[in-house]
Amino acid sequence: MQPAINNAAAPAGIRVQARLFALYREAAGSDLLAVQVPADSTVRDLWGHLRAAQPALARADGLMAATAFAVNGTWARPDQALRDGDEVAFLPPVSGG
């Protein structure tokens, strides 16, 4: 059950997009989720919301030492407030090279 995801009819919230990569993308089964959250939500709130809605994502997050965040393509702190239309990325520890 993922009641708040893709629920455009809910009132008094903002709509954001969650981008997921690598382990998180596979756990969620999607690289992009449209989500409605309360208007005063932070990045951390959204991440908690996604993990609660998707237990596989919570398990994947638990495997990682740290998750990093970006809003609209720029690094963000977990307490950053979200605005309607934001694209919020959830990044497992990087392993490129």
Partner: protein, 150 residues
């Protein structure tokens, strides 16, 4: 994402994420200037083992917009720190077989010492900050590589 892979113009050289094969000669030519006597390059390869397990392929995934921005930021910081004219980074994405090139960093400098130092510096920063991930494929499964939780 159906958008084309983004590129960010920089006075120092290209910083790109691409699904295409990488050419060291091409990147070196793009970063060198007439005042440079040396280019040092780092070429990342898919190797056939990791932590005792046989690896048959690596799958690279990027957050392309942010990866390009980060590569440019670190490249320009390294160039400024070492007084260089040219630096470029291309990182490949997709599934790569053993022996294929995953990333190329090219640094041009008037003299060799700065080129070596700057290239190693850029690689360390790339591995620490650029949002790219790799999944190792084994004969019997696969795993995303990353810093495991303590």
């Amino acid at each position: 994402m159906s958008d084309p892979i983004p590129t960010v113009p920089s006075a120092f050289g290209p910083f790109e994420v691409t699904a295409d094969p990488l050419s060291v000669d091409q990147l070196a030519a793009e970063v060198q200037t007439a005042a440079d006597g040396a280019v040092v390059t780092f070429i990342g390869l898919v190797r056939d083992n990791h932590q005792g397990k046989q690896v048959i392929a690596l799958e690279y995934e990027a957050y392309p917009e942010l990866a390009v921005r980060e590569m440019r930021a670190l490249g320009e910081a390294v160039a400024a720190q070492h007084g260089l004219h040219g630096i470029g980074i291309r990182h490949r994405t997709g599934r790569l077989a053993v022996g294929e090139v995953s990333v190329v960093i090219a640094v041009a400098a008037p003299h060799r010492a700065a080129a070596f130092a700057a290239c190693a510096d850029a690689l360390d920063r790339l591995k620490a900050t650029v949002p790219v991930w790799k999944k190792e494929w084994y004969t019997d499964g696969s795993a995303w590589i990353g810093q495991a939780a303590g």
